[in-house]
Symmetry: C2
Subunit: 422 residues, 2 copies
């Protein structure tokens, strides 16, 4: 690296961070991209890892492979611990990394809304490791249930609860249903699949709040047709190893609660010392700069910016569109220009799959559901996946699964601890 | 299950166990197949997991998926702890499983030849978890080396030693070389790949002892052309976290020793109480029965049977051919017949890849090397992999890798402990 060129440090190799680094790679700057993992994760498909549909390397792509041609981009595997904004340094366990410009694209983590106990007794699904953990656990529950003689314990092992009616909860519940009732249906000769319950719990009166009412109703209808017990207006107040407790006092005996009820910015963002919202997101100016720190930008899930009176959603397009404006503004600052661009998010619509061949999508006045929405969902996700080879294998897997219901990912890579084993 | 039908218990879902269970599934018997994992592992390709070539679900296949149509076959996920041969019971942590006939197909594990310390300081490569562990560790060594400032420590982190000149050691060393010098060569902008050493250590004077001399020489030549430092007549006597010690007193500074120097039967086999050989394999009669226990059979890696004055090799074809004879003999015993069949192994030849487009194969008077041997190797392995979808994706990956050198599996799923981190 040249000592004279401006040094941009980007934290996070998600959608926003990778895009920003690729845009900056072509400029006369040095870039250091820091992430706690060595891969870029395609988070929207994480639920397909947890439900044994896709392979790990189909949704995780080695971060360094993006930057083979760009010698001015360095990658650093590290967990950022904090910031020294006075000296313009990022603190990692190995060294302090000096920056001229800092881009915070560190993403989000599971939000338990203050119920910290739930972080131990439920399964989050924001990281690859968490998704693998869910996969191992769900498959193991079936193995244990088949050899369990107490019918009550067996039913508890076969009760799977997803909390949260957003896209993640919907997709997880739908995919779990197909895993159980289609992919595995002839494989547990000693189990009665009537003992299985898949429950989706949502605190408000609607699933997929960004969708119009008819698509929300369609979503609930399809889920119920897949034997998912959808419970709206239902709030979780407590959870331990064997029991989920609801606000009305009823309990559900279960060993598996997947918590997809909300996200918050990763905790390190608060260490910046700048104002954050209730979800820990740093409040940025319209130029995506952090107040009082024109050299620090925040984009994507860890930034809070309001548009039309509401904060922007924590979705990939907000992060990637933000990274473009962020890079433009950094280039202007380097040139000494002061007419920075303000970020305006252009809605690309929203979509969710409820199962193979079933999806809902919505953009402006366009509404789609059913098989064609699923095809559109599939195409859009395939286009965005990194790597041509992955496009082919994922397309094959989805097509194959549509026809035969087979899921090849049902591999327990780590037998979980046998808590509750009788 | 019917109470009256004979109950055959098979331990191990490897090549021998799966084949035996599939053959017995069509008979008027009940079968219980017990394995400590929920998948059948295609062990010959394990090195391609450890070197980031293939995905986990391409070489691991859910065991239960083999037996969807066969309600008389039950699978049980359990680690067998011992036997009560008087009462004809297999002991598991959950229950004792009664058998009329028992098939031991439990396979083998790494043999440290009494140097137990090495089981802690080196990496075995017999299980899926071990291969994943090697992959994570090797990738992590590169990440750590790039941020390491001490050149000596950096070289130690980038020194990779494979011990054992059999197919596993050869294939691991060759594949590791391509991972480093082809797939990752443009990705570590802060590393000089001249600091990398890949060393193959073999105690005897030859690699691939089952091969004729010209193919052995070809193997060494190809490995050396791939910058693998092949050291014959070299014996390991000690290894700790940072240093491998050889018999002549020289040491190699390394954090990565992959131990592929030998195998022995899994330890539970000794608990049978029957005579075993030095590698813990139970000595069987030519009918594959365990002496004094006509109802107990042993096949594959955990059985010792001599043919032409030498014990049969621990390779897949011996296990699958053995399972056929074993099942025939069980059927005869059920019918009350006493003219049991004796097992004669028919050599199918042997082969090894040394890298993409490079292999050696040998059968009788047939010898092949180079690209055509590699194509033959590829076809034979594809044919034997379970599942059509897997055949397609693996063929695509191998072809793609041949052309572009890309390896998509470079995902660190678990950051190893930072021992030695400065």
């Amino acid at each position: 690296m040249s000592e004279k060129r401006p040094h941009v440090v980007i934290i996070g190799a998600g959608f926003g961070g990778i895009k920003a680094a690729l845009l900056l790679a072509r400029e006369n700057v040095d870039v250091t991209l820091i992430d706690r993992n060595n891969f870029h994760l395609f988070q929207p498909l994480l639920y397909q890892i947890s439900t044994s549909m896709l392979s790990i390397d189909e949704i995780a792509y080695p971060t360094r492979a993006f930057f083979r041609k760009y010698k001015n981009v360095r990658f650093m595997l590290a967990h950022v611990q904090g910031f020294d904004v006075e000296n313009k340094e990022v603190i990692t366990p190995y060294k302090r990394v000096k920056y001229d410009y800092l881009v915070l694209a560190a993403g989000s983590t599971t939000n338990y809304f203050g119920m910290n106990k739930l972080s131990y007794s439920t399964y989050g699904m924001k990281t690859l490791r968490e998704a693998i953990h869910i996969r191992n656990h769900v498959l193991h529950m079936f193995e244990r249930a088949e050899r369990e003689t107490d019918p009550e314990i067996r039913k508890r092992m076969l009760t799977f609860v997803c909390v949260g009616g957003g896209p993640t909860g919907i997709e997880e519940a739908g995919s779990l249903s197909e895993l159980v009732y289609i992919a595995m249906k002839d494989e547990y000769h000693g189990l009665d699949l009537n003992d299985v319950s898949i429950i989706l719990i949502e605190a408000t009166d609607k699933v997929l709040p960004m969708m119009p009412e008819d698509l929300r109703k369609e979503t609930v209808r399809v889920l119920r047709s897949k034997k998912v017990d959808v419970r709206l207006n239902t709030q979780v107040v407590d959870c331990d190893e064997n029991t989920l407790t609801l606000k009305d006092g009823t309990t559900i005996a279960t060993n598996t609660v997947i918590w997809a009820a909300g996200v918050k910015a990763v905790p390190v963002i608060e260490k910046l010392g700048s104002e954050v919202d209730r979800a820990g997101r740093v409040i940025v100016k319209k130029t995506l700069q952090v107040p009082d720190h024109p050299e620090i930008f925040a984009i994507g899930d860890c930034a809070h910016l309001e548009q039309n009176g509401r904060p922007l959603a924590t979705i990939a397009p907000v992060a990637t569109q933000g990274s473009v404006v962020c890079v433009e503004n950094i280039k202007k600052l380097i040139k000494g220009q002061t007419d920075l661009k303000e970020f305006v998010y252009h809605d690309v619509g929203s979509m969710a799959t409820i199962g193979r061949g079933q999806a809902v999508m919505f953009k402006g006045s366009l509404k789609m559901k059913g098989f064609f929405a699923w095809c559109a969902w599939m195409l859009i996700h395939l286009m965005r996946l990194a790597g041509t080879h992955t496009n082919i294998t994922v397309a094959l897997k989805w097509g194959w699964n549509l026809l035969s219901g087979i899921r090849l990912g049902r591999i327990i890579t780590n037998i979980p601890d046998n808590r509750n084993e009788q």
